[in-house]
């Protein structure tokens, strides 16, 4: 029999203490953790349920930024009208994870810290320039989302550290985002490739700022600076889209597996980046 302990601290400080013990694992929505427990892929000494910490669930606005508590479920994120207007790409990426049942529990922090290369919310969060607010034994710190996952199943969080919230930055006018993934059916599958694009237009409809991130085409989700730069200054003409496509493909370092070959994933990453850019551009234009 296991000697597993279940702890449900009500403060951040108590959670940091509990997680600092060796063999302790953070529990948020549990949609990955419980599967791994059952499969015997991990045998933690303690499970630290973060959902009882005051303020760890919920969405609030702070000077134009959105602060999304780490334990906020996908279902709650999808129901937040203001967040859906400002960050439709982030919301659609989160809502692609699993079934209605999984959405009732799954969180962005769990999706990120599970550290799968194919996590759907991660490319969208990276393109959005989202920042993680992290608590730990050394106090609070902040880190961009792309700095968290270091390899499949591995993160840069130290023992005792956990994500308290995500901050999505204030949105200038004429800004939007989009996330697209390819799966062989319409629901309930893991991305073959995914692309998130966030951009801002100037008053003339030219792209003034753009970020592109790719998922499932490398050991970690990638922020592709060249791909974003390819869009800036243009109106998504074929020239800038083909440079975006090429930059996205050049960044790919995928594996071949049952979901797709290296060649297919690379090709699809370029196609998805184009289409996500067009979707984000259309959404940003519609605000004008």
């Amino acid at each position: 029999m296991s000697q597993l302990q279940y702890l449900a601290p009500s403060t951040i400080d108590d959670a940091v203490l509990a997680l600092a013990a060796s063999g302790a694992r953070a529990l948020s929505g549990g949609t990955d953790l419980l599967v791994q427990l059952r499969a015997g892929r991990m045998a933690p000494g303690a499970i630290v349920d973060l959902k009882r910490i005051e303020g760890i669930s919920g969405i609030r606005q702070e000077g134009g930024a959105f602060i999304i508590g780490a334990a906020t479920s996908g279902a709650v994120i999808g129901e937040h009208a203001a967040l859906c207007r400002a960050w439709p790409g982030v919301v659609e990426a989160v809502n692609l994870i699993g079934s209605t049942q999984v959405q009732g529990r799954a969180t962005m922090a769990g999706n990120l810290c599970n550290a799968s290369p194919a996590a759907d919310s991660v490319p969208a969060l990276i393109a959005a320039r989202a920042v993680c607010i992290i608590a730990g034994p050394g106090g609070r710190r902040e880190a961009p989302v792309e700095d968290i996952v270091t390899a499949p199943g591995r993160t840069s969080l130290a023992q005792g550290e956990f994500i308290v919230a995500f901050r999505l930055p204030p949105r200038p006018a004429r800004s939007s985002d989009a996330y697209l993934r390819l799966i062989p059916r319409t629901e309930m599958d893991i991305a073959v490739a995914g692309a998130g694009v966030s951009l801002t237009l100037d008053a003339e409809g030219r792209v003034s700022e753009a970020y592109v991130a790719l998922g499932a085409v490398a050991p970690t989700a990638l922020l592709v600076a060249d791909a974003g730069a390819a869009l800036v200054g243009g109106r998504l003409d074929e020239d800038s889209l083909s440079r975006l496509d090429a930059a996205a493909r050049a960044a790919c370092r995928p594996i071949s597996d049952k979901r797709g070959t290296i060649e297919y994933r690379t090709k699809i990453a370029g196609v998805l980046a184009r289409r996500a850019a067009q979707a984000a551009y259309q959404r940003a234009s519609d605000q004008a």
């Binding site: 279940y6 079934s99 209605t100």
Partner: protein, 160 residues
């Protein structure tokens, strides 16, 4: 090993139980509370046979620790019929023959109830996407979707 004392509400009734920290809500429902309507299909959140509603959210009870139920409200298939009267969803599943072996049915009913609680007038597409996490190997889903649409129409009538 120390067991956890958990106080919760199941189908409107206060319930207390002792749980091993590794036990799932599904384990406790079935093995401690003898509520065997919720089924274990996959144990990994893929099939939806263990679907229950916790604080108005549809969840897989196999993906939730029993200890997490402390202070929550849990609704299972056993609470769907009221005083021997089948819920309209259950009645329509019978009328449309929306089941064969029945293993997925409790999960499909709870998932459908959660849908109609938030969306009394869903489109067929909305029903199909909402139920994508409930696998059924007998019906091919068409009869299930028709039963849900029909139950939704009846429930809207009752509200008038």
């Amino acid at each position: 090993m120390s067991k956890l004392h958990v106080s919760t509400v199941v189908n409107g009734d206060p319930v207390e139980f002792l749980a091993d920290p590794a036990m799932t809500l599904l384990d406790v429902l079935r093995d401690e509370l003898n509520l065997t309507g919720s089924k274990e299909g996959c144990g990994s959140g893929d099939c939806g046979a263990c679907s229950v509603i916790v604080d108005d959210r549809l969840v897989c009870s196999c993906l939730m620790l029993a200890a997490e139920a402390e202070g929550r409200r849990v609704a299972t298939i056993e609470g769907l019929a009221q005083g021997g009267q089948l819920h309209p969803l259950q009645q329509k599943f019978l009328e449309h023959a929306a089941l064969q072996c029945g293993f997925c049915t409790p999960g499909l009913l709870m998932a459908s109830k959660a849908l109609l609680d938030v969306n009394p007038d869903p489109t067929e597409t909305e029903v199909r996407y909402w139920l994508a996490g409930n696998l059924c190997r007998c019906t091919g889903y068409d009869k299930v979707v028709r039963a849900v649409m029909d139950a939704a129409a009846e429930l809207r009538q009752e509200r008038v």
